[in-house]
Symmetry: C2
Subunit: 507 residues, 2 copies
């Protein structure tokens, strides 16, 4: 086959992928609208629209047409003719195709129904703190995942197949190693912090902060981060999120709590970090299946980097605390920047993951990881979960939930079958610390840039190293190319120890 014929076929394939991407963008906007302001009486009909378009995307991903494209382009003599972007597009389609094709349609349909029922049952079960209600659903979901893994196949640990969906290339072997190393240092650090007599005073947080001013300050900080408002917008939702519809339209939402000025602030910076990633993907990738972040872990590294390594840094508040005091005139006069810095870097073991600080957050994740690994490999039974959960919290964090609603029922993930997702959060923290180490070497005036409010060089460096690639590079390729080595938990350990020994006056 000559090159012209390959090119013609490639153009056809790209148009096909572009159409799928366009449908996904429509679905993305429909979701955004449902979550930000769609009138409730239209939700039922709208959900059916979402269902129809999503189904169409799925159909396209497993169609005979897609099968033909893949059969053609994966032949070495054709694959070899493709540029790297096209090769990567094929590889991504092949991965989706295999994953979907290996599950018989009736099993998949039954699973969709099961998880959608389970999400609704979980909501009630959490509300009533009644694990028994949720248990039969979770048992079926775990069993289905075990069955799917057999169909998909796996290398090494069965759980690897699930991990790979969120963090391509990640394995239990690697996670055991990095989480082990992290835990070994994190737990003693936590104990030392708890024993410290220098506990921050957080009483000032207990005031009413005007919502409109919180919004103004959120907008101000996003502007400082070089979030592009011509390629995005900020709205309000109960659960903050970021959604990249295309690099020219990356929207974020936040939540304003009247009695806690830090919630919207760090929530906005966090989502802003996700958004910077999506806004700065190369425009060459628009309309391809590579035009999004490369993995959940790398995505989370960017939200965490901006939230913690920048947003909770001393340098940041040495620059912006005056602006915050001015915005909430009279409310923070008695709190100096040092007190504020310590208050927002308060470490406290707690029951609830989403409220956890940047040290204990990782421990919440490790508990979930151990449990998921056990469930999938059959070494932990669903029926035993509440006991297992509580014991692990007691052991690792020294706290024990009085009710399952604050324990094993707190997260939505399992009800939707999202096993393998949780590790991304802790991976994000580790990647972020490792990247920060590199940033400080490559931009030696890193702290001064932040302290002078000049965040642009940081964004530009991250764009060059990470953002522009979209899914063109794997998570491992990204971290190696940027930092010169594979994921290494020591950077997060060093970062946490440095920072918190200073905050808590440890030696």
């Amino acid at each position: 086959m000559n090159l012209d014929a390959i090119q013609t076929k490639l153009d056809e394939f790209k148009r096909y992928v572009r159409k799928m991407k366009q449908y996904k963008e429509a679905v993305g906007l429909l979701y955004w609208d449902l979550r930000t302001g769609a009138p409730k009486k239209g939700v039922q009909t709208r959900s059916e629209v979402v269902g129809e378009l999503s189904t169409e995307v799925f159909r396209m991903s497993v169609s005979d047409k897609m099968g033909e494209f893949l059969a053609f382009f994966t032949q070495p003599e054709h694959f070899g003719q493709l540029d790297r972007t096209s090769q990567k597009m094929i590889e991504e389609c092949q991965k989706d195709y295999d994953r979907s094709k290996k599950i018989p349609e009736d099993k998949y349909q039954a699973y969709v129904v099961l998880t959608s029922q389970a999400e609704s049952v979980w909501e009630d079960a959490k509300h009533q703190s009644d694990f028994a209600m949720f248990q039969p659903y979770l048992e079926k979901i775990v069993a289905a995942n075990q069955e799917f893994i057999e169909l998909w196949g796996y290398e090494g640990n069965k759980y690897n197949t699930l991990l790979d969906m969120y963090e391509p290339g990640m394995t239990v072997e690697k996670l055991d190693q990095v989480f082990g190393a992290l835990r070994e240092k994190a737990v003693p650090l936590l104990q030392a912090i708890q024993a410290s007599s220098r506990q921050p005073d957080r009483s000032f947080i207990d005031q009413t902060f005007d919502k409109e001013k919180q919004k103004q300050f959120s907008l101000f900080i996003l502007k400082q981060m070089n979030y592009d408002f011509e390629a995005g917008r900020l709205d309000e939702t109960v659960h903050p999120f970021a959604t990249g519809l295309n690099p020219g339209d990356v929207r974020i939402t936040t939540r304003y709590l009247p009695n806690d000025v830090t919630s919207a602030l760090f929530g906005t910076i966090h989502e802003g970090g996700h958004a910077l990633y999506e806004q700065n993907i190369s425009s060459d990738l628009i309309g391809t299946n590579l035009c999004s972040g490369t993995s959940m872990g790398i995505h989370e590294s960017q939200s965490r980097f901006w939230e913690n390594m920048v947003g909770r840094s001393w340098a940041f508040w040495s620059r912006y605390y005056g602006d915050l005091q001015k915005m909430f005139a009279g409310q923070l006069d008695q709190v100096d920047v040092d007190a504020f810095y310590k208050a927002i870097n308060h470490i406290q073991p707690s029951l609830i993951r989403i409220e956890a600080d940047e040290l204990t957050y990782n421990l919440h994740i490790m508990i979930r990881y151990e449990i998921e690994k056990g469930l999938i490999n059959g070494t932990i039974r669903v029926a035993d979960l509440p006991g297992v959960w509580n014991a692990k919290y007691k052991e690792v964090l020294g706290v024990e939930p009085a009710a399952d609603s604050d324990g094993v029922l707190q997260d939505v993930h399992w009800s939707g079958g999202s096993f393998g997702y949780f590790p991304s959060y802790a991976l994000g923290n580790m990647y972020a610390a490792q990247m920060t180490h590199t940033l400080k070497k490559r931009l030696p005036n890193f702290d001064e840039l932040i302290a002078s409010g000049n965040l642009l060089p940081i964004k530009e460096f991250l764009t060059e190293q990470i953002y522009r690639y979209g899914k063109l590079l794997t998570p491992n390729e990204i971290i190696v190319q940027m930092t010169g080595e594979e994921l290494n938990p020591d950077y997060l350990v060093a970062y946490l120890e440095d920072k918190y020994k200073a905050v808590y006056g440890l030696n």
Copy 2:
């Protein structure tokens, strides 16, 4: 063929139509988003998404599958087995199918390109007031419409085929009659009004009205109209519009002018009228191609009815003027309700259609109707348009544009090829007056209901007579069923004479 087989096929047809409707709903939301707040850097990619989904709807409407459905169900022995709703669904699909199939694809594609270029050229031409720039495009658009009419076929006047697209069943013969009768009375009435010494004082309008308060008042009035905020929302755009995504999600927009409190007010009521129609279509029709207003004229009758017959009535302001004064405390103290009522019912011939009052508006439309009829039938040449336009304005309204930007170039419609659309606006006024006549008979306390702010019985009556049917009844069936006779311009004449003789103190 037995009934079961017909039912099975009917179910399949309905699923097919539902899918088309779902795609249209997605497109509707994408448009709404583009016009209300989509970030500008995402617009290019988003427009391609809209294009892809719209094309898919078009493809489905002319597909072989659709052809098979229609061939099957239009056979008398099958058609006769269907309920009325299904029959009407078939008829609507057949109409679209025929319209699209009769135009060769290359001609249609060329026309789409032509009109999209023409819209952009028109914008520049209007800006520079340069008709010559726009002329070659308009000539091609007129020629294409003439060619399409030959392909579509026509009965009586060629222009009938275009009218039928916006107002099914409407003809030149009927329009000539009703517009003639209206003009015969409207022109002398206008002359008498202009000769009156009792011209309203509008000087109070020239103040700054706080935008937030304008918004609050718009929301208040919509609530009074029984617009359902659980099935809609109000946003701000440069050009106000209403969009019915489904009966549970009917959104409206308005525009707040700082120096004119009446613009947002009547704009909101107008769009609110359109929205009441769409919100109250029977839920049985959701997912069918009958789930929208039956015609442009009937739709406009509802926006006009609420804007003018209710919103510009004495009874309305006897109830709500106090609220308006309270909202803009101190700004309207010197203006009593009588002065306000007269000011908002000021009649003044002008050059610009969209700024026209409820009397002269009809004359603006008649001029466009005469011109369109002439263009399509070849009795007016595009090259002569500026002269023809100016002469007609001089003759009918007594004003003459100094520049084509305020004359023949003022409207976007022709650049998009929307010939046959303009008459809907005046038809709306006529329908509205005729319906108001019936309403006053059927709800004898009509004025008192308004004066007491009890607008619910009015909305309920309109729902029962018009809204719930969607496209299940034709415009003519609606007006005959509700008022007992076909469209009759005398009601609008009587309404205008009654109202404005009182406002201007004519005998």
